[in-house]
């Protein structure tokens, strides 16, 4: 094939992607920047440029502030749960002599669930007259307003999403465990390294690349929570589960404040990008200690 053919076909085959990127990436990106400085309300034909007004308003707004903190609180619940959970599951699966992949496929099933459906199930299980709550009332004289108190509402959302991702992440970790050569364990056994210290000093450092992937992926999930919160709490109680997406949705599409919503979206993007960057750097530092590049 001639160089010309390579060039023509190369651009031809990538053109659907490029066209898409123009219409649904580049133009929206510029438009978002522009909107963020205006007070457009999605409807009226006239609007003003308000400079940094939207950003100032956003920084002073309790909803935006809550979105900022809720994300990190959520991360503090979600990441430890999902990482420990998937690590335990993958260690368990890896120690099975047979039927490994059968169990892995089974554990993966929650990943298929729609957030709407699982949230509705959770809603049913936690409803006032559910067997769980009847039992708590009857045996312990406890009445818990699961979705009505800030900490438990956020924890419940974190658990639902962790349940969804554990099977997926344990696939990643299991393939990491499988790639650790048995010679390493044999050498360690000769030196008398077994049990807990074997886990901390050999398995965990050797598993670092897979753990890195899982940690970055799970931290990324934190910044995109919407469905579960929308169905279960609508961001409440008292903004305790008000994620970035929920806040943007409320401002731009319920209150029709598109300019202000865009400003929040830009803030959210900057915060997301910076957070993931810092987490990456911290993880890499940790990896350096183990001698990973």
């Amino acid at each position: 094939m001639s160089r010309r053919e390579h060039r023509v076909l190369g651009w031809l085959f990538t053109s659907p992607y490029l066209l898409y990127s123009l219409v649904f990436f580049l133009i929206p990106l510029c438009w978002a920047m522009y909107l963020a400085f205006s007070d457009w309300n999605l409807i009226s034909p006239v609007y003003n440029m308000v400079g940094l007004g939207n950003f100032k308003k956003a920084l002073e707004n309790p909803g935006v502030r809550s979105a900022f903190w809720v994300t990190y609180k959520f991360m503090a619940f979600f990441v430890p749960i999902v990482v420990t959970g998937s690590l335990l599951v993958s260690l368990l699966v890896n120690s099975l002599p047979r039927y490994k992949s059968l169990f892995l496929v089974g554990y993966f099933l929650p990943y298929l669930a729609s957030g709407v459906a699982t949230s509705l199930v959770v809603k049913g299980v936690l409803s006032y007259n559910s067997p769980l709550n009847e039992w708590l009332r009857g045996s312990w004289n406890l009445t818990i307003d699961w979705l009505g108190s800030p900490v438990s509402a956020l924890l419940i959302v974190a658990v639902i999403i962790a349940w969804k991702f554990i099977g997926y992440y344990s696939l990643i970790l299991t393939s990491g465990l499988e790639s650790i050569p048995t010679e390493v364990y044999e050498a360690a056994a000769i030196d008398g390294v077994t049990g807990w210290s074997r886990f901390w000093r050999i398995t965990l450092p050797m598993l670092y690349p897979a753990l890195f992937t899982v940690l970055i992926l799970s931290a990324g999930v934190t910044f995109g929570i919407f469905t579960e919160v929308y169905i279960l709490t609508k961001g409440g109680p008292d903004n305790a589960t008000n994620t970035w997406q929920m806040e943007i949705f409320t401002q731009a599409f319920s209150k029709l404040d598109a300019g202000y919503g865009s400003a929040i979206a830009i803030l959210a993007s900057v915060v997301t990008f910076a957070s993931i960057y810092v987490i990456r750097k911290l993880m890499e530092k940790w990896g350096d200690r183990y001698g990973w590049e």
């Binding site: 076909l9 169990f103 990008f273």
Partner: protein, 277 residues
């Protein structure tokens, strides 16, 4: 000695693994049990003892005081939107992936870099203006409004690019000597060799599109283009007054994806190995 220890270990490990499995799939079991339970046992009995199809009947036919909702229509809408969107994402990814792995052209590196940049870009910033563009294009409350903005997957392009790189160039050259066109080579030779990766990509894209709520909620206005997720959220989201039908609707939403997954699970194991590398 070691053998003895292992023999003692195994039943414990399998019991633990099975209990974990039960916990992982319990929400599905709960959903199915309670969708079939008689109404005064829904959410009241941990394990319902009497069963009925009333919840499904209520959903599909309505009741005296409740209009039937367009469930069948929403189901077909969801299917149509998900399948079209997924196939488009696969097509654009296969084409771009092939170009980026097998063609040599100026600017290829730049395209690769742009893809990487987009992959790490927080897409939340695009939500509002993408909605406005769809509106400008006259696609508000249409199927295309739900399909086109989700017609490219960067992850899928990335996967196919890496997979095609492994396919030997000699094979392609040989086919070319026989007079095969590039399209023929891609769709008749290269793609059939990529069955495991195609299964994984299809499955993940289908799944992600099937459970999408936010975008569809923004685009759909009337009853005509409702998707299943949106209908469910509208009906049971804020004030779920009918728990039985709520479970039945969740089952209807979940079953297709589980069936698809189980049908693909043979290739899933092969493909996931590559996807996780």
């Amino acid at each position: 000695m070691v053998g003895n220890r292992k023999r003692w270990h195994n039943p414990v490990l399998y019991t633990l693994a099975s209990i974990t499995l039960l916990i992982m799939i319990y929400p599905y079991l709960h959903m199915v049990m309670h969708s079939l339970a008689v109404w005064d046992q829904v959410d009241r009995n941990f394990f319902p003892t009497k069963f009925t199809l009333r919840s499904y009947q209520w959903l599909l036919l309505g009741a005296e005081d409740v209009q039937p909702r367009p469930w069948l229509r929403a189901f077909l809408n969801s299917m149509f939107v998900t399948i079209s969107s997924t196939l488009l994402m696969m097509l654009t990814a296969v084409l771009a992936g092939y170009a980026l792995s097998k063609f040599v052209f100026k600017g290829k590196k730049a395209v690769n870099n742009v893809i990487l940049f987009q992959m790490f870009f927080p897409s939340i910033i695009l939500l509002i203006p993408s909605f406005l563009i769809v509106k400008q294009l006259g696609l508000y409350d249409t199927y295309w409004g739900m399909i086109l903005p989700k017609s490219v997957s960067l992850w899928a392009i990335f996967m196919y690019t890496n997979f095609f790189k492994v396919i030997p160039n000699d094979l392609i050259e040989a086919a070319k000597l026989d007079g095969a066109s590039e399209f023929h080579i891609l769709f008749r030779i290269v793609l059939p060799m990529s069955r495991s990766i195609t299964t994984i990509v299809f499955l993940f894209l289908f799944m992600e599109r099937w459970v999408e709520l936010l975008w569809d909620m923004l685009i759909v206005k009337g009853q005509q283009h409702l998707t299943l997720n949106v209908l469910l959220a509208q009906m049971f989201g804020p004030y779920g007054a009918y728990p039985g039908p709520m479970y039945a609707a969740s089952v209807i939403l979940t079953v297709p994806i589980i069936l698809l997954f189980l049908a693909c699970s043979k290739y899933f194991k092969e493909g996931i190995q590559f996807a996780l590398k």
